[in-house]
């Protein structure tokens, strides 16, 4: 190695906390061209890259980074788009620190190459320069005459749809809501993932790849899987996600101003309640907000509460910061924006006021005991440690579970006792001609793992259809 290793990564520009606390725009502003090239040049181009195995969709990371380092953006874009349909989304919301960047050779001595930021830069450039990048010009193969229904237009469904369309199959996506995108439109906030980016990805699918999108179609109610199969579809991919909220199951949690994180985020992200009354859907956010849970969704809800003008926003979590499932970046962002972490705290009761709205929550102090089956130390309540937190808004962000609508209507589709659909590693379910992938199979996980599952299933469906 002739050149000296550059151990520090180039920081990304962000909106300053005191400014972004009061606006809904994207926090991370992305690299400039110069910054991106400089960061890309840090990559030492390992002979056996450790980054690729970390990527659920197997992007040839060293090659695209090399292209970028040499200033050849079209090549970089081509490599990324070759295996990843939604790079602008992944570059923003993937947990790179536990995937591609985890085993980066540079990470042993310093910062790993910021692969996510580079991916985002290339994807944004390609979207803004569609002609020059050339990635949006796709020669579709001759139509195979086979028809596939994709249920759900989230990350799994979109990836599967794109791969199958590129293989020449006729693809129709069924989406229950009035907007396509799944969790990327209703779950992830504007300040983390601008909705115009999601829309651009969907436009590409519809306008370039010729995928048909049917919105407002609640499969399971409007049509069952069997009806779709009888209706001329050769196979079905189920990417219906884990959309049903979980509550705390404590007394008083049906009081007013107690939200599920899903409701809170659907109001703000999908229905744009932050623009009420320009948009018709309102959201009520009080002055003292507690968000229970410590995943990315909890951080999103807490950070929206800050933006909606709350004076004090708490993350209430029964373990410590070390056990939090949220990404470090999101945790840091939340803290910078003034979110207060109430750790080792478990709400046991919601206390409503005379009007039925939450007035306070009774909590107990916890301490960490022996590790449980997840490997995290089990929190145990300290006897006699009860105390009250005065709040006027409570958001329950305890995770989500699969929506039972489709499985309930499809008896031969086997599910686990957690409600997830049983599927093999290729996504094949117990029901003939039906594949599934994403949160509906794994339970709530990440955008990129859903995309990986969508891709696997597409490969298997394509093989099945070719037979």
């Amino acid at each position: 190695m002739s050149e000296k290793l550059k151990l520090d990564s180039i920081p990304m520009n962000k909106q300053a906390p005191e400014i972004r606390r009061r606006n809904p725009y994207e926090v991370a502003q992305g690299y400039t061209y110069e910054q991106a090239v400089e960061e890309a040049k840090r990559c030492i181009q390992c002979k056996k890259p450790a980054c690729i195995p970390g990527c659920p969709v197997d992007i040839d990371i060293p090659s695209f980074v090399k292209g970028l380092a040499e200033g050849d953006l079209p090549r970089a874009a081509k490599i990324i788009y070759g295996t990843n349909t939604l790079p602008a989304i992944c570059g923003r919301v993937c947990p790179q620190e536990t995937q591609c960047q985890e085993n980066c050779a540079l990470g042993k001595k310093g910062d790993p190459v910021s692969i996510g930021r580079l991916e985002r830069f290339v994807a944004d450039w390609a979207r803004e320069n569609p002609e020059e990048s050339g990635v949006f010009k796709v020669e579709l193969p001759k139509a195979t005459g086979k028809k596939v229904a994709i249920i759900g237009s989230g990350p799994a469904g979109l990836t599967c749809a794109s791969d199958l369309a590129k293989a020449g199959h006729k693809v129709v996506i069924y989406e229950a809501l009035h907007l396509a995108g799944g969790v990327a439109v209703y779950g992830i906030p504007e300040f983390r993932l601008p909705k115009k980016i999601v829309q651009a990805e969907i436009d590409y699918l519809v306008n370039v790849l010729g995928v048909e999108l049917k919105r407002n179609q609640v499969v399971g109610r409007s049509a069952t899987l069997d009806e779709l199969l009888a209706d001329g579809y050769h196979s079905i991919f189920l990417g219906i996600g884990a959309g049903a909220p979980m509550f705390l199951k404590i007394p008083g949690e049906n009081s007013n101003m107690v939200y599920s994180a899903n409701e809170f985020l659907v109001r703000l992200n999908l229905m744009k309640a932050y623009l009420f009354p320009v948009f018709d859907t309102p959201v009520k956010v009080g002055k003292r907000v507690a968000v229970v849970g410590a995943g990315n969704v909890a951080m999103d809800a807490a950070r929206w509460a800050v933006r909606m003008g709350a004076d004090e926003v708490y993350i209430v979590y029964r373990r410590t910061e070390a056990e939090m499932p949220a990404r470090t970046e999101e945790r840091e962002n939340a803290k910078e924006e003034g979110v207060i972490f109430k750790l080792l705290t478990l709400p046991v009761r919601v206390i409503p006021n005379a009007h039925g709205s939450v007035e306070a929550i009774e909590c107990v102090q916890m301490e960490l005991g022996e590790p449980d089956e997840s490997g995290r130390r089990r929190p145990i309540a300290k006897p006699g440690s009860e105390f009250c937190m005065e709040i006027d808004t409570l958001v329950s962000a305890l995770g989500t579970q699969p929506n039972p609508l489709v499985p309930r209507q499809t008896p031969d589709l086997k599910t686990t006792n957690r409600g997830t659909v049983i599927a093999d590693e290729k996504g094949k379910t117990t029901k003939e001609r039906v594949w599934a992938g994403g949160d509906i199979v794994t339970g709530a996980a990440t955008v990129i793992s859903a995309m990986g599952a969508g891709r696997c299933a597409a490969r298997d469906i394509d093989e099945y259809l070719g037979r």
Partner: protein, 306 residues
């Protein structure tokens, strides 16, 4: 704070995707003051819907999603009927559409269908606009071989709807008004019915929670199973958000996927009434702005802020 955000954000209108169902209005009637009947084309809903289910409607890409109980279908023509009261901004917008115009987004059918069997004698109560969907149920109960006693109610005689239709569908029709301007005053007369004959099931539909509650209290002493359709606040209508949660028999249920019909004797009415009021202030703001600032208040508001 809110204004600040509004001022900075340019609202992007979402590109319309290619859709199949057009939701074109084919029939529109005014049944009483502010009570409108609309029939629109949506073959997906029309081929699937059963009594008791609902659709979620959104007027325009800035509109809220709101549920309307299905008031009937014509599967052959692919037409769906809804009857609604113009109370807020969204329902007024819907009521302002004419024949030939299209409703933006319609999703459905949602919710569980009414349990329709041959029970014997069924008493169907439809209050206000919900007389519409009740007519759909009355027809279904009749078809299943029940003797159907129908009660339609309204605040006053001017607001009574579908009298003739209900009369033709039912074995017996009673009319009740809150002020006594037509038929019986209030619902107390129902006691006489229950004293007089064996009723095997009661079905109640009304957007007025208090009326349904009264109905359930009336039937409770007679031990008649009373099924009521609850009108909780909804957002997506597919079990995703939980805003429509109600307490039934001590258990939390989602009105959209577990209901909308529940055993009325087990419903926690206080909670339902309280939860229905969460956004009453915002609903008023929205409706008043729409009414007084004009049809384009939203875009003008935005223009002024730019």
């Amino acid at each position: 704070m809110l204004r600040l955000i509004c001022s900075r954000v340019r609202c992007r209108s979402w590109k319309e995707d290619r859709d199949v169902n057009m939701n074109r209005i084919v029939v529109k009637k005014e049944l009483a003051a502010k009570i409108k009947l609309i029939e629109f084309e949506n073959p997906d809903v029309a081929s699937k819907a059963k009594p008791g289910q609902f659709v979620v409607i959104q007027m325009g890409d800035k509109g809220e999603r709101f549920p309307l109980t299905i008031g009937g279908i014509d599967p052959d023509k692919g037409v769906v009927r809804v009857i609604f009261n113009e109370v807020g901004k969204s329902s007024r917008r819907l009521g302002a559409l004419g024949e030939g115009e299209e409703i933006g987004n319609v999703a459905g059918p949602l919710g569980n269908p009414t349990e329709i069997e041959r029970f014997g004698t069924v008493l169907c109560f439809g209050g206000g606009v919900m007389t519409g969907p009740m007519a759909y149920e009355v027809a279904a109960f009749k078809k299943a071989g029940n003797r159907v006693v129908t009660v339609i109610g309204a605040r006053n005689k001017e607001l009574l709807i579908l009298k003739d239709e209900m009369n033709a569908l039912s074995d017996k029709l009673y009319i009740s008004t809150d002020d006594g301007s037509e038929g019986y005053k209030g619902l107390d007369f129902l006691r006489d019915i229950f004293e007089g004959e064996k009723v095997d099931r009661v079905i109640g539909m009304s957007v007025a929670t208090a009326t349904l509650r009264t109905l359930c209290e009336l039937t409770r002493p007679y031990g008649v199973k009373t099924i009521v359709s609850l009108s909780a606040i909804m957002l997506d209508g597919t079990g995703m958000c939980g805003v429509c949660r109600v307490l039934v028999g001590g258990q939390t249920k989602f009105t959209c996927v577990d209901g909308p019909e529940f055993d009325g004797h087990l419903v926690d009415w206080d909670l339902l009434e309280s939860r229905k009021r969460i956004y009453s202030h915002e609903e008023r703001v929205s409706a008043l702005l729409d009414e007084h600032v004009g049809k384009d208040c939203a875009s003008r508001f935005q223009q002024a802020r730019k």
